[in-house]
């Protein structure tokens, strides 16, 4: 496929990197230094210029392109770029936007603005926050097969009941598969005798109930309280969308915003949220409002430093769990290392969503783990798949090592894959695999 990516910021770059291996990628970027640098670091063609200019798009070969992805930081630029591309080509256009109202307009009339697929980055991030918030201890969470299968990544604490156990010992949950362990930046596929250590990150795939049950066992204290008391700090668009999603889930979150006018605006838009006008780093305010009793604190301020500060302050006060937005991807690990429970990078979420979409055809749903180290992929098995007609154990022998069948759904019903399970054509299979073997494996199955 020929893919044109407009804008080589973090999102564009990450998409380009994900797609470069198996596609012909052209990147258009205004900053010529970045263009220069990209030429050497990625196997892509990079062009300096304005992505809304037809001339530049033609130079990039837009007439023959299959996909055009507009991923600059500016909503309007992205829309105009898609519209411009549509004037001369039939390429599938994808635009990244921040403004939710643009997304609403597009959803009402698909194809509006000449955009075939629109990704609302802030809304996407809000969804990620809410998904993770529902699972105590989870760092990442995603759903597959229309909600029948759930994937989650947990960090194992030293006092966790399964720390020190082998996989075989820990495997006491119905319909749950231990798909992988991330240990010191490496992916390990767990075998029966693999021992789970503290600070491991464990990826599990299974029915939503079993994943929830597993989380409850790992973090009994947090699970007992549930996540009812949510405090969101920062009335950015992400904070606003997160509050709205929590409202939709029947919760009554509290939202702290320092700016008077923005606070009023948020209070008007969010009828079930208690909006507070205050500086969230004011300890007296935090204790007066009993923020320490919150089950979850979400930091969605505009600055990474402030998000870190607020999260740490909240952790210190005694908040059960903290989630922080991190704009610079380099800080994600740092945040989690110093004590923030979950750090989410909106650009990563966006890149993930766009990449996942471009993989459509090969897979129905994709989740990326640990900044692209591994992926969880859902697909429907067809007749000529390697999996059909043999047991999983037999099939695995012909596949690279870093592949695990996490879950199978047949006519919407969940089947726990074990060594002797046979896959049938038409089944939906959720597979964990390391990114390096992705293309190879997807061809076979």
């Amino acid at each position: 496929m020929r893919v044109i990516v407009i804008g080589a910021g973090e999102v564009g770059r990450s998409i380009a990197a994900n797609l470069a291996d198996s596609n012909e990628v052209v990147v258009i970027e205004r900053d010529s230094e970045i263009v220069e640098e990209l030429t050497y670091s990625l196997d892509v063609l990079s062009i300096a210029g304005d992505g809304t200019s037809l001339e530049i798009l033609e130079e990039a070969g837009v007439e023959d392109a299959d996909i055009v992805i507009a991923s600059t930081d500016n909503d309007e630029t992205n829309l105009v770029a898609c519209g411009t591309a549509k004037t001369v080509s039939d390429a599938f256009t994808i635009a990244r936007v921040k403004k939710t109202n643009l997304l609403d307009t597009w959803r009402r009339t698909k194809g509006a603005f000449g955009v075939d697929f629109m990704v609302g980055s802030d809304l996407l991030t809000a969804h990620a926050i809410v998904r993770i918030a529902g699972l105590p201890g989870a760092h990442d969470a995603d759903v597959f097969a229309g909600g029948a299968v759930r994937m989650a990544e947990f960090e194992i604490a030293a006092e966790s009941p399964i720390a020190g156990e082998t996989i075989r010992e820990a495997d006491r949950f119905d319909s749950l598969t231990f798909a992988a362990i991330f240990r010191e930046g490496e992916v390990t596929i767990p075998r029966g005798d693999t021992r789970i250590r503290a600070e491991d990150r464990l990826v599990v795939i299974g029915s939503p109930e079993s994943v929830q049950e597993f989380a409850t066992e790992l973090y009994p204290a947090e699970a007992r309280d549930g996540t009812d008391e949510v405090v969101i700090v920062g009335g950015s668009e992400i904070g606003f969308q997160t509050a709205k999603l929590f409202e939709d889930h029947g919760l009554k979150p509290r939202l702290v915003e320092q700016d008077h006018d923005r606070a009023r605006e948020l209070a008007e838009e969010l009828p079930k949220t208690t909006v507070m006008e205050s500086d969230a780093t004011d300890a007296e305010f935090l204790s007066r409002e009993h923020v320490d009793e919150a089950d979850l604190l979400v930091a969605t301020l505009e600055s990474d430093q402030k998000n870190l500060l607020v999260s740490l302050l909240a952790e210190r006060l005694g908040v059960d769990r903290s989630v922080a937005i991190v704009e610079s991807p380099d800080y994600v690990d740092l945040f989690e290392a110093v004590g923030v429970d979950v750090a989410i990078n909106p650009r990563e979420e966006t890149a993930e969503e766009i990449t996942r979409f471009t993989r459509e055809g090969e897979a129905e749903n994709v989740a990326m783990l640990e900044s692209d180290l591994a992926e969880v992929v859902e697909f429907e098995v067809d007749g000529d798949s390697l999996l059909v007609g043999r047991s999983i154990q037999e099939a695995m022998a012909e596949l690279p090592e870093c592949v695990v069948v996490g879950a199978i759904t047949r006519d919407g019903a969940h089947i726990t894959p074990r060594g002797d399970t046979r896959v049938e054509a038409g089944d939906h299979v959720v597979v964990f695999l390391a990114t390096e073997v992705l293309d190879d494996v997807l061809d076979k199955i």
Binding site: L266, A267, E268, P271, T274
Partner: protein, 511 residues
């Protein structure tokens, strides 16, 4: 001193309205021709005089210069002029207590402002001509939906400044534009008003034609419709609605409820948006208040043993239907500020009477013909009290006051506080002045409840109070100074305080 108000434009427009108002005298003239023609000349003369005065005033300036400030002056002035003109026939006819100029002005202002307080000692079509009585009813019908709203609906030259004019006159905070053109909105409101009026005339006439209400004549049906729909309360019967059967009383209750409802809702109903109309939070609150007050008063009337046999009414205590009927009638009548009486509630037990005093401050919905403080303001006040309680515990909370989920602008909330506070200040101040005036005049004595309710009834455009100004009494015995004060209260109350008070500020007249 240089005036910053283009008063000539205001006066000119008031003149135009007056000129067109002269057409209204055709109704009493027609009635006169149908009956004894007692006061035919009176009305022909007044009509000619009004048309002439209107034409002369119209020439003072050009209506094109109408802005915000001029709109206030025009509305205030129009209502004063109309009240003066409306008083002329009473003086010229020279029958009964209303022949006195002050009384005539009081009666006229009470009519146009749909107050329904009367200084007629002898209310009947025997003591006064039928055409005079019909004029008295008609002033209420014209005043109900608003003379200025009517003018905006009819006169094309008012279309531009129309929104300001309606804002200054229409009851309740803010004008809702139903259609892009303000004149169309005004016409829509008047159309609903006329439609309901026709329905009521037909229903009452129908009842009159049957055994259910033999004493309801065609004249009576028209006369009572003219005073129900504007929530006015004048009846050509001294005993008000007590003079009629239970069927008529029940029939009038829904029309009073309709008159106290925001007419915008009927417009929505007409356009098929019944969901929106039913979901309207002010309407729900209004219906809830009417229902709960009726329930309370019904029980009070039912259990009160002192009320065995009221005069002309029969046994109420211990009887379910009469208790509910009189409770519902009186509660609806006072809340909507109509002021009709289905029985003399002055003989009710104290708790039931106080329930009515409480109801005097409630008022109908915004955009209705009702007076007093109005449901929407109370709803907002209750909600903001709840907000204050919450922010006392959480001082940094930002919490907009919401109506049906929609956040209200804080300036609107503040306006509502100010209005309500001013309303009570005027009420207490007015009552004090009335008390001082009563003390000044030898031989005039009035009990406190009469004094207080007289002030509440005129300021709220309700009509009857309790005691001497009760439903079967009247305001004629007050000193003339008190009557003039009450004329002022009715005027201020009808225009919802601000448009009148703003005329008294320096800032209004100077830049």
């Amino acid at each position: 001193m240089r005036l910053r108000v283009g008063w000539r434009a205001s006066v000119s427009l008031s003149g135009t309205v007056l000129k067109y108002l002269s057409v209204a005298f055709l109704v009493p003239i027609l009635v006169s021709l149908l009956y004894e023609r007692e006061d035919l000349l009176v009305f022909v003369a007044t009509m000619a005089g009004t048309a002439l005065a209107g034409t002369l005033l119209e020439r003072v300036g050009s209506p094109e210069d109408l802005g915000d400030r001029e709109a206030f002056l025009m509305v205030g002035l129009t209502w004063l002029l109309v009240a003066f003109v409306g008083a002329v026939p009473y003086v010229l006819a020279g029958t009964g207590t209303i022949a006195h100029p002050v009384n005539a002005l009081f009666e006229s202002m009470s009519g146009f402002t749909t107050t329904g307080s009367t200084v007629m000692r002898d209310i009947s079509v025997e003591a006064h001509s039928r055409e005079l009585m019909m004029w008295r009813q008609l002033t209420q019908w014209l005043g109900g939906m608003g003379i200025v709203v009517l003018a905006v609906a009819i006169l094309s030259e008012l279309s531009v400044g129309g929104a300001q004019l309606m804002e200054a006159e229409a009851p309740g905070p803010g004008v809702e534009k139903l259609t892009p053109r303000i004149a169309e909105t005004a016409r829509a409101l008047w159309l609903a008003y006329v439609g309901f009026s026709i329905a009521e005339v037909l229903l009452l006439s129908l009842l009159g034609a049957t055994e259910l209400a033999p004493n309801m004549t065609a004249y009576g049906a028209l006369a009572h419709t003219f005073t129900t729909m504007p929530t006015g309360g004048f009846s050509p019967q001294a005993r008000s609605i007590e003079a009629f059967s239970w069927a008529v009383q029940w029939a009038i209750i829904p029309f009073m409820v309709v008159a106290g409802t925001n007419f915008v809702l009927f417009w929505q109903l007409l356009n098929g948006d019944w969901r929106e109309a039913v979901a309207d939070s002010e309407f729900r609150f209004y219906a809830g208040v009417l229902a709960s007050l009726t329930a309370i008063v019904s029980v009070l009337l039912f259990v009160d043993g002192a009320l065995v046999d009221a005069e002309n009414v029969g046994r109420v205590a211990g009887a379910i239907e009469p208790s509910v009927r009189h409770a519902a009638f009186q509660v609806v009548s006072i809340v909507t500020t109509t002021g009709y009486a289905s029985m003399n509630f002055d003989i009710w037990s104290p708790p039931a009477q106080y329930a009515l005093v409480f109801a005097m401050f409630l008022g109908g919905s915004a955009g209705s013909t009702g007076g007093a403080i109005k449901m929407i303001r109370w709803l907002v006040i209750l909600k903001s009290i709840r907000r204050e309680l919450f922010t006392t515990v959480h001082p940094s909370a930002v919490r907009p006051v919401r109506l049906a989920g929609e956040p209200l602008d804080e300036t609107a909330v503040r306006g509502i506080y100010t209005f309500t506070l001013l309303y009570f200040v005027l009420f207490l101040g007015g009552a004090l002045l009335l008390a001082l005036d009563a003390a000044r005049v030898d031989g005039f004595e009035i009990e406190v409840i009469g004094l207080i309710t007289a002030c509440a009834a005129t300021l709220g455009n309700i009509g009857p109070g309790l005691g001497v100004v009760g439903p079967m009494g009247n305001f004629v015995d007050f000193p003339w100074t008190s009557k003039l004060l009450m004329v002022g209260l009715m005027w201020i109350g009808r225009l919802e305080i601000f448009p009148v008070l703003v005329l008294l500020t320096r800032a209004y007249w100077r830049s």
